[in-house]
Symmetry: C2
Subunit: 388 residues, 2 copies
């Protein structure tokens, strides 16, 4: 298989937007195409992630409308993916294969979501569809509840008293807000402190408001191409070195939710393909939909031993400048989480980091980066390893 390069990236500002799904995606896609130096007419296929357009705009089958808006001709296929919050990452991994295989030389891939126009009750309900509809959603479980249970399990399993764990969880939010404050595309660009989190409204015990990522509108896009073309059109191609994807069923079928098997399997695939290990990763964008989620993810990816992930919040190892900087973009927590776009936005950040274009939030000398996205109750997990 051929080496696959990322020649261009684009991303809208995350947060509330008056634009439509088509308009949002087009903004990110055109930026990515311009960034790549590849002519729009050379785009051979479009892969796009979108979760809830059916609900937010009554728009399914969105691929063709996006292709049309971008002026792509009728022979350019446009494929929509949905894997809950991992949606865009699934699209990127899939697009990777179409270039790696030699079938296409230039593909556009990304994701888009509009949530805020639905309002919080409808957004919460539609997000919950990523859990098992028959047993979980039906019994009233939504994602704050899923991750609240995870926090309790983590506290008990590793014998970390809940107040101590909550403070460490709060530090995830503090770190990611500090990073987001340096990201002009982040939804929240303000620093907070531990007290901000611990004094915020209770959402689902023990998760408080600032333990939770926001609802967001936004889009992100990436142009994938061959090594040969990338070297011609841009100075600093970033390469996709490894990809992995795992799956899982309902929570009741997962033995221990603190040790997510689908994520462990996915990460191992990506590491094996890249010929790398956790110790080789210089920067990581991972799925901090809730503060506890970042801690658990950092363990499943192998950055810390199981049960030790929360310690890193006290030592600062996951801050920019630490052993393994996590979510320098601000993460889902501060950058925002337009679910169908998040995976592509993670790729955007890692590409910018590896190119050294992140200014105040730059991880100095980063050469290898990783993304991690979780859909549903770990039902869909995707990992990508990128390098220069």
């Amino acid at each position: 298989m051929r080496k696959v390069a990322i020649a261009g990236v684009g991303m809208t500002k995350f947060g509330a937007s008056e634009k439509s799904l088509v308009e949002l995606f087009t903004e990110a896609a055109l930026e990515a195409i311009n960034d790549s130096g590849i002519k729009p007419g050379n785009v051979q296929a479009l892969f796009v992630g979108n979760c809830l357009g059916d609900f937010s705009e009554g728009q399914a089958n969105i691929g063709g409308f996006l292709a049309s808006e971008l002026g792509l001709p009728p022979g350019v296929p446009a494929t929509r993916f949905e894997g809950a919050c991992a949606t865009a990452s699934v699209a990127v991994r899939d697009a990777f294969m179409w270039v790696a295989s030699g079938f296409y030389d230039v593909v556009l891939v990304g994701g888009v979501e509009k949530i805020l126009n639905m309002g919080t009750p409808m957004a919460t309900r539609t997000f919950a569809m990523a859990s098992d509809s028959k047993y979980e959603v039906f019994s009233g479980l939504t994602f704050p509840g899923v991750f609240a249970m995870l926090a309790h399990m983590y506290s008990v399993k590793y014998n970390i008293p809940l107040p101590k764990l909550k403070e460490r969880m709060a530090r995830v939010a503090v770190k990611n807000h500090a990073n987001g404050a340096k990201n002009p595309l982040a939804q929240f660009q303000k620093e907070i402190d531990v007290d901000t989190v611990l004094n915020s409204a209770m959402i689902s015990d023990p998760l408080q408001l600032y333990d939770c990522c926001p609802f967001s509108d936004g889009a992100a896009a990436v142009v994938l191409t061959t090594e040969e073309i990338a070297k011609k059109v841009i100075d600093k191609p970033v390469y996709i070195l490894g990809t992995g994807q795992g799956s899982a069923g309902a929570l009741g079928r997962q033995k221990d939710y603190t040790v997510m098997q689908s994520r462990i399997a996915s990460a191992r695939q990506a590491y094996d393909m890249a010929g790398l290990g956790p110790e080789d990763i210089d920067v990581c964008e991972l799925h901090d939909c809730f503060t506890i989620a970042e801690i658990v993810a950092s363990e499943c990816l192998g950055f810390f031993e199981f049960g030790k992930g929360s310690d890193a919040l006290e030592t600062g190892e996951t801050e920019i400048g630490g052993k393994i900087p996590i979510n320098p973009s601000g993460g889902l927590k501060a950058k925002g989480h337009p679910i169908g776009a998040t995976g592509a936005a993670q790729v955007y950040e890692i590409v910018k980091q590896l190119r050294g274009e992140c200014k105040d939030r730059q991880v100095e000398g980063a050469k290898i980066g990783m993304t991690d996205t979780l859909g549903g109750d770990a039902g869909t997990i995707v990992n990508l390893i990128l390098g220069i």
Copy 2:
């Protein structure tokens, strides 16, 4: 790229079902796996099409739940696709690439849909989301209206008086019901005559009830593998010789809906990849969501000159035994149309035809077959060419 073989196929009976999406897909998937002679533990990835599970069951992110039900381990990725009525065909084309590229040796791919529990008004509304939400759906257009306009355009453009065209359209329904009557998995297994159509309720002028395919529940699945493995496990591998996919925007951006550019481009891709032309196709399953849709599709695929497709209904050229038998399964019209499953069900029929397993509806000596699925207003089109 490697040659890709279809080692096994499975399909539920189409029509109303009490089973859930997961149960329906599992039934088809296990049949496909058993048919293939490949052990379930050797399935390396799952690709699945589903359009409206978010609405019919409140279930998104369905891939992981299907993988779990099938007992697939957490390292097996499960990807959901949505491209309106072309959903499952997009999944098959994508799965093809993962095997052709050499990345996976055995993948399971298919589609599933439940519609009937939603009832006709909700089904009609959710189907309409595959049209442009801002201008078409918003102004009240649903698919019977889209294809009714197509029939009027066709009548005027080719100067075929509407009564004459309507009789020919009725013959599409008569033919497909005759075929469906010989298909034990078809939703409607009864023959009708021209009067049945012309005396049925008016739906959207000039389309009457029997010009329209039904709402359906159902699932279909296919096991793809390498030529080498297929030859070991089964007697008659069928190969994917060509694939194509096209896209289009809103109706208002399509110059002439009787000459669908996305379908013409898609078919050309498939023919070119296979090194074949329309004259080489022995049997075709194409997208007869409405009777006029079959006529237009048969022209876009190159079986007849533009404007001449309806003549074939008088000469019998598209019947079993004719020049190019179309929809021997009964098509969407009689076999049924569980939208997210339809593309995989078309593949099921063509595989059975090429293996010579279709009994009363067998197209004798068929060696090359083609599928064609249309999503939305031709927004997503996929064609596959299969051969032995």
